[in-house]
């Protein structure tokens, strides 16, 4: 499968005006690729993930074009998106653990879900049992209420249900944030397992935790204030980032082995701009050590090396 997103713009309606949460992003995801979508809060990564499958009530589709496997994905039209959801594009939402109806047994909930998609449940249910086993959960889970399961178990159940119909594209929105370190590892590895077994063709993994992405993602796309900053293979982002924001971000992350006494890390001064009336040009300019006059004009997201694109005047044209 392949995903091609061109100049996608999605704004949020508020009393005070439109918040330009996603302002013209263009990128692609190849067949079998696990792309990590990283950035801090307010950068637009969750908005991007949501806009590819289902718009929030406050989100407004402003412009752009999305293509999935060569056919258009009508993201702006909720009705037209219906046949695509769950079958071609699926999502593991943020707070997936609370995404299950607490008054329904899991098996019943899944059957209702399948029926709402117009599918008979029998074949799918046996496949469901098989997959639950693969992720280390027994069949009994189907007979339980969500409250009887632990956080990690619920997460895995939701993951299996979301991928039941073998979607081409899976969006995983902050699925490891609320988990313990050991469960995080299990869940992340399960995710990769889905791709390896062919349950899912490609994935977009959204998280603020770059270190998890380094473990499981093939490429990483870094966003800042509603725009793309850099996209590169995972190792490149970590070892040789080119965009100033990415560089500063990576260098502010303490790793096991780095100690304050030996090497004092530095953060990035300032805060991301308010997206209600965003500044013209590069949005990172106010905090960027390399900023020049040229940054008043928005830098294009261009390739600097095979598979590596950056949106920065200082770097892009080198």
């Amino acid at each position: 499968m392949s995903l091609a997103v061109t100049d996608l713009r999605v704004y949020y309606r508020t009393l005070a005006g439109d918040v330009q949460a996603l302002d013209g992003v263009t990128f692609g995801v190849a067949d079998g690729e696990i792309m990590g979508l990283a950035g801090e809060s307010g950068c637009g990564k969750s908005t991007l993930g949501k806009s590819l499958i289902r718009f929030d009530t406050r989100m407004r589709f402003v412009g752009g074009h999305v293509e999935l496997d060569g056919a258009e994905l009508p993201v702006g039209d909720s009705e037209a998106m219906n046949p695509f959801r769950f079958k071609h594009v699926s999502i593991i939402p943020q707070y997936a653990m609370s995404a299950m109806n607490p008054t329904r047994k899991i098996g019943k909930m899944t059957k209702e879900l399948l029926r709402s998609r117009g599918m008979g449940s029998n074949g799918a249910m046996s496949e469901l049992s098989r997959r639950l086993e693969l992720v280390g959960l027994s069949d009994d889970v189907l007979d339980m209420y969500p409250i009887e399961l632990s956080g990690g178990m619920k997460q895995r159940v939701v993951m299996v249900i979301s991928t039941l119909l073998d979607p081409s594209l899976l969006i995983a929105d902050e699925i490891t944030s609320a988990l313990d370190v050991s469960t995080q590892k299990a869940v992340a590895e399960t995710l990769v397992g889905f791709r390896d077994r062919g349950f899912v063709k490609s994935m977009i993994v959204i998280t603020h935790d770059l270190s998890i992405l380094c473990q499981i993602a093939d490429t990483i796309l870094v966003m800042y204030a509603g725009q793309l900053a850099e996209k590169a293979p995972a190792e490149t982002i970590v070892d040789a980032p080119r965009h100033p924001y990415t560089k500063l971000l990576i260098s502010s992350l303490p790793e096991v082995g780095v100690r304050y006494a030996e090497k004092r890390l530095a953060g990035i001064a300032g805060r991301p701009p308010a997206l209600l009336h965003p500044p013209a040009g590069c949005r990172f300019a106010a905090r960027c050590p390399l900023a020049t006059k040229k940054c008043g004009e928005e830098p294009p997201f261009v390739g600097v090396a095979p598979g590596h694109s950056v949106a920065c005047w200082e770097v892009g044209t080198c």
Partner: protein, 314 residues
């Protein structure tokens, strides 16, 4: 779930305006909290309507009695006159020759007094019990809960009948006190639940770490956070007290030394006013009670919309 993890996403700023998330931190694009509320308050039709009717009745209750030509209980005039301008019997007379207008305005005034006193007492006791139970929890909470439940199931009419048998004269104060002491439980319960949810917030822990004692924390940190809730609760207690008083009066358990709206209705039914077509006797008090209590409840619904941003239309 875990206590040690960020179960919420990182600090929400501009791009994620979920339910009550504020405007971007750099430039607050909305008005200050109070002004914003006032802005919505004045636009809310329910609130404006309810408030106007209530205030109109209040003015009438304060000013009305002064305009009466005869004392409410005086058997002065002709019997069963329809409303007329003669002798100032604007609302007519009762079967026994009393001035309906005087009785009506007197009753209206009493209604507001009962509402304020009865509602006030219920609110005070409810707050005391509710705050303490919610803040303390543990054994204190269990005991107060039991107390609340017991008072809730006391058959109020039976108790009032017993009290009525012992007291020679019952005044409006006694009635208010009784209403206040029997209608606090549901307020206590609601406040306890609200207090529970606020006590676990970190700012209460911070207040404790600043050396504040419990009562100061309750009244200076927790109660202000619930101010809209407390306000609305008082309005409901006020309206409820008026309704209960009217009911008690109607079955004859009202104050024995004056006349109230409920008593007017009781007397009119006893004296077959409906059959005798003496509509001016029972219609005004009935409509008045309906108007006051109804407008209070409508006002409350409007207030809820004003205080709770999620209910407003954009």
């Amino acid at each position: 779930m875990s206590t040690g993890h960020a179960a919420r996403p990182l600090e929400p700023i501009a791009a994620e305006p979920a339910a009550a998330a504020p405007a971007p931190a750099a430039a607050p694009a909305r008005m200050s909290g109070f002004r914003e509320m006032l802005h919505f308050a004045l636009r809310n039709r329910k609130l404006v309507f309810g408030l106007s009717v209530t205030l109109a009745m209040l003015v009438f209750a304060v000013v009305g009695p002064f305009l009466a030509h005869h004392p409410p209980l005086e058997y002065g005039g002709k019997l069963s006159w329809a409303p007329t301008t003669r002798d100032g019997y604007w609302f007519g007379t009762t079967l026994l020759g009393q001035d309906v207008y005087a009785q009506f305005t007197n009753g209206l005034r009493l209604a507001f007094i009962v509402g304020a006193l009865g509602g006030g007492i219920a609110a005070a006791v409810g707050m005391l019990v509710g705050f303490t139970a919610g803040y303390r929890s543990g054994i204190v909470d269990e005991i107060l809960n039991m107390l609340t439940n017991v008072v809730l199931v006391i058959p109020t009419f039976a108790v009032l009948l017993v009290i009525a048998a012992y007291l020679k004269v019952r005044g409006i104060m006694t009635e208010s006190l009784f209403i206040g002491l029997t209608s606090w439980p549901w307020a206590a319960r609601a406040l306890r639940a609200q207090t529970f949810s606020l006590v676990s917030r970190d700012f209460v822990a911070m207040a404790r770490l600043s050396g504040r004692n419990s009562w100061k924390i309750i009244f200076k940190e927790i109660a202000p956070n619930m101010s809209s809730y407390l306000f609305m609760m008082f309005i409901l207690l006020f309206g409820g007290a008026i309704l209960i008083a009217a009911t008690l009066d109607f079955i004859g358990l009202g104050p024995s030394n004056t006349i109230s709206l409920g008593m007017m209705m009781q007397l009119s039914v006893q004296n077959a006013a409906l059959q005798l077509h003496l509509w001016w006797w029972f219609l005004p008090p009935g409509l008045a009670i309906m108007a006051i209590v109804g407008s209070l409840y409508v006002m409350n619904v409007g207030l809820d919309e004003v205080f709770n941003p999620a209910l407003r239309e954009l």
